[in-house]
Amino acid sequence: MDISIIIFLLGGLFLGWSLGANDAANVFGTAVGTRMVRFKTAAIVCSIFIILGAIISGAGTTETLGKLGSINALPGAFAACVAAGISVYLMTKAGLPVSTTQAIVGAIVGWNLYTGSATNIKVLITILGTWVLCPVISGLIAMGFFTLTKNFILKRKLHILRLDAYTRTALLLAGAFGAYSLGANNIANVMGVFVPISPFTDISISSFFVFSSKEQLFLLGGLAIAVGVFTYSKKVMFTVGNDLLKMSPVAAFIVVISHSIVLFLFASQGISNFLQSINLPSIPLVPVSSSQAVVGAVIGIGLLKGGKEVQWSVAGRITIGWFTLPIIAALISMILLFILSNIFNLTVSF
């Protein structure tokens, strides 16, 4: 493999690391922050299930992202990933929970604008639409789950210690599901732009099992995410668990499960096909933001409690961040593309 290919892939791996450090914190942040699950346990479960989700169910959202703008040169893909990674880093520094999803979409649109490629407006509108839908659906699911769980706990009269044991187990299972969904839904952000220009070739192990080049890319991306989880997510998890979401362990579980369901819904080809088969509008397979899902769920629970606990000014600031991030990512992407094509004389599109 050409050394330059490895260098360019590093851009994607950097974004993967950033996803592992930030987005993965949404999955286990409340569990680790409230000390219900140990960081080591969370990191191992999170890494395994993110990689599984990416390899098994990562194709759907990748296809959608590919339709938005098919980056056809490795240096271009590199610029998009690095731009997304930097913008996520900047927003995280500013204390705003953002996701790689918004960043990569902005970066791809930046590539389209710089190279003069057409942006598929229909796909862009679908993606932007899901960004509105995602927190709303997550909030509604959280409200439903919260009511059900609260009534269940009150009715069953569980001992505080048994409830604690069940909550720990539930948090771990919901976290595993969340990590799988995150891998399935967000691997497109990390490796999606490299799929059309994958440097790998299919590997056949006997005639039954073929490890496709796309799956190899996803495995690599999944590993980068896992490294992000192990090296940097601990701090973010404690921030999410203690500062952003100060809530009971049971409410933390509701947030994780709601977030996981939303991510799974927007990544599951099976559910999408099933809805189509019974003549219902199918769910677009779009990479959604785990931060949006988490914030939506928290606000949902807050509203159910009367809305007084919701910090609306913070919610507003976060929302502004969601709009700003893709724009910043697009601008950084264009600057990087300019540098790569004019200073390093690299071809950023064909």
């Binding site: 000390r35 001992h159 604690d164 044991a165 771990l172 009971s248 049971v250």
Partner: protein, 220 residues
């Protein structure tokens, strides 16, 4: 699973549940013994039985201390109920103090041997019964904190009710003692005992108030 031993988690949980239940049982049983101790003391003919009962209270107090330490260790070592751990431990400590108050009363009766004239016996027995009922209501409040959060308020209300009853009985008895023809030193001595028994109720009410706050904090 991956460092979190689920089987150990659930077995630890069951063991702790039993220990906490056992602790509340001890508080309740000490109260019942105390309820018998006072009339037994007043009936001088059964002094051997009285000493036996004081010894029983002492044993139960040691058992409660042991449970408190075990629960404390397990809760911290296994990092269980992180959100309610300090509340639960404080609750157990305060309940342990209540057991200590029962024991203290028994010792004071045993050592100082207050001389209650017959005319005050019935009032003292009734005051003791109200105090024990108050602690019984507290036991229910604590049990509901652990299992049935919705009932905490109702049971807590009963504690308040008995505490008020106890105050009324204490005041009436203290007044009767000081209105009597007894020498002042004896009056003071008897008042000390009556007040010490009544204080158990004050402590029980404080704990019940605490539990109600913990219950609000515990709400999902």
């Amino acid at each position: 699973m991956f460092g979190l031993k689920s089987s150990s988690l659930f077995s630890d949980t069951k063991k702790l549940e039993r220990e906490i239940d056992g602790f509340v049982d001890i508080l309740s049983e000490v109260g019942l013994v105390f309820k018998s101790i006072v009339p037994t003391y007043l009936n001088h003919s059964a002094n051997g039985k009285f000493d036996e009962m004081v010894e029983k209270v002492k044993e139960m107090e040691s058992k409660a201390d042991k449970i408190t330490k075990e629960v404390e260790h397990t809760l911290y070592e296994e990092t269980l109920i992180p959100d309610a751990r300090s509340d639960v431990l404080r609750l157990l400590e305060h309940m342990d103090e209540l057991i200590g108050m029962y024991q203290g009363n028994c010792y004071h009766f045993s050592i100082q041997k207050p001389n209650f004239p017959k005319e005050f016996h019935q009032d003292l027995i009734e005051l003791t019964e109200t105090v024990v009922n108050c602690v019984e209501a507290l036991c229910l409040t604590v049990r509901s904190f652990f299992r049935d959060i919705k009932s905490v308020r109702d049971n807590g209300h009963k504690v308040t009710f008995y505490e008020k009853e106890s105050d009324i009985k204490f005041s009436a008895l203290a007044r009767r003692i000081f209105d009597s023809e007894l020498p002042l030193d004896q009056k003071m001595h008897l008042r000390y005992f009556v007040e010490k028994i009544d204080r158990i109720c004050d402590q029980a009410e404080d704990i019940a108030d605490e539990v109600q706050i913990y219950a609000i904090k515990r709400s999902v």
